[in-house]
């Protein structure tokens, strides 16, 4: 047995191997899809995330069955915690569910593809550059797509602004309407406490070409995370003015706000 296959057998339990194979992602002959997802690398990621999900953040996910088993769907959540840990946990919750698991795709910040190693690794785990064309093509491919409409406004916010939703972009609603994709809202509670930041050094962020430079402890705290998936929301594809689209976005935002409040009331302690 070669070292690579020995390590693989140790790192990837048989149940994970079978679980990922069972999902049957549409991939090419060498295991890749056009956005760089790779089935074999995904197994390592899944195995590692299981530890993070179950042991470190002890995630409690409620209502994950609300995500339809097939067809295009947009999973819309609040964004927080400096690093995209929330996307990882929402993705794992859906990929690990017992009944009809799906490997969703997360739309990531435009800055990531320029980072060596990390950019490619995120792609191999199914994350995709947050571009409307990418999202549209993936919905046309019947994928489940995780979108954080707050973008860096949400992930980069300071600890004192925790659980306050920032402005939502309207792009996701246009795509949901065009591709008749239901929207599953998710309230994420706990990620705000993973990397509490007290300030953002904007000049440093600008100099480094990164979205924000938080002043925070150089550790990820093991906050307990609650994920609340709401019932799917359906919107018709009528041609409507932008202000009505914004109204629809506000409906989704209100639902996420309700799910966050639910998670906060369910939470007994921070860690």
């Amino acid at each position: 047995m070669s070292l690579a296959s020995y390590l693989k057998s140790k790192l990837i339990p048989a149940d994970i191997n079978e679980h990922i194979n069972r999902i049957r992602k549409p991939i090419g002959s060498l295991g890749y899809d056009p956005w760089g997802y790779n089935n074999e690398v995904m197994k390592y990621g899944f195995s590692l995330t299981r530890q993070i999900y179950e042991k470190y953040f002890r995630v409690e996910a409620l209502g994950v069955e609300n995500v339809p088993a097939e067809g295009p769907v947009l999973i819309i959540a609040n964004h927080s915690g400096q690093l995209p840990i929330d996307g990882l946990l929402v993705g794992y919750a859906l990929a690990s569910r017992e009944q009809q698991p799906r490997i969703p795709r997360a739309m990531i910040e435009r800055f990531f593809p320029t980072v060596p190693w990390l950019g490619n690794l995120l792609n191999e785990f199914g994350a995709v550059l947050g571009d409307p064309v990418n999202c549209a093509k993936m919905l046309a491919n019947n994928e489940a797509v995780i979108v954080f409409p707050e973008g860096v406004r949400g992930s980069g916010k300071l600890y004192r602004d925790r659980y306050q939703l920032k402005r939502f972009g309207n792009g996701f609603m246009h795509l949901a309407m065009k591709y008749k994709a239901p929207i599953v809202p998710v309230g994420v509670v706990g990620c705000e406490e993973t990397i509490p930041a007290i300030a953002n050094i904007k000049p440093l962020a600008k100099a480094l070409g990164i979205p924000y430079a938080p002043v925070a402890m150089p550790v990820v705290l093991p906050a307990k995370v609650h994920l609340n998936f709401g019932p799917p929301m359906y919107f018709d594809d009528l041609e409507i003015p932008e202000e009505l689209v914004t109204e629809r976005v506000e409906q989704v935002k209100a639902e996420i706000s309700r799910l966050i409040d639910k998670g906060l009331s369910e939470r007994k302690k921070l860690f």
């Binding site: 060498l30 956005w35 435009r110 550059l129 093509k137």
Partner: protein, 315 residues
Amino acid sequence: MTKQRRPHILVTGAAGALAQRVINQLRDHCDLVAVDFREQVYLGDDIPSYCIDFTKRVFEDLFRRYEFDGVIHLGRIQSSQLTRMRRYNANVLGTQKLLDLSHKYGIKRVVVLSTYHVYGAVAYNPALIDESAPLKAAGLSADLVDSVELENLANIYLWRYPELNITILRPCNIVGPGVRNTMSSLLSSDNAPVLAGFSPMMQFIHIDDMADAIVRAYKKPVRGVFNVAPEDWVAYQHALKLCGCRRIPIPSIPPVVPNLILKTLKLKSFPSYLTAFFKYPVVIDGRAFAREFDFKPKRPLKEIFRFYRENKRPV
């Protein structure tokens, strides 16, 4: 009773492996004339072959003598060949002359080979780029300007002279036996440079499949611009591994470092102006072409890479 006239076709870029594959597919049913900007090649007694600069006046004599029905323009000088100036003359001015003559002599079908490089490799590229996407290559490097201008020129003629029935093909990396482009020489080498930490998704099409695509395109006069790529993808470094290449990492950040190193090394197979293509993906959507021309590539990626693994440094 007169015998039905066989179609007369002018094929440019005859010294290249792709043109020769196309010629072999067409020679039984068509009367072909082969020309090349670089050298004269012998293609058999039945096919007249010329080494001609398209911008010279004698080029027009071929149109007078052979009464062409169609033109297959594969003679694009690649960005790794010649100087920037000579390449511009050959690709842009040469193509303009070719299209002008095609219009003057009533050509009814023109197929122009372009490249996926015209889309440009930028960090914000979505995957599955379709034909209407902007061409960003010119902003990346002056060495890619001629590729974009060739496209623009062909596009102008496409709309101005619909009777020419121009089809522009933008293929992904063409590889396989006999191919001499940068990608093919990388795959066939023992040591191939990579940018540390970057392994963009790539697409490869076998030269025989590409020849098949060109012949199909020629036979069905549908005007337009089409990407040509199989529905299969692989990361660059994975492709090198499958071809048995040792990967030599080049420091990738900050971006001036790889540019400086590559400009100093002057590697023919890894030129500095193509650096971005080894950093960011340019994944094109070939489904429109596949649908329109009923095209399905026959050679899988594994077969392509096996050839390179087993034929290091082909003659």
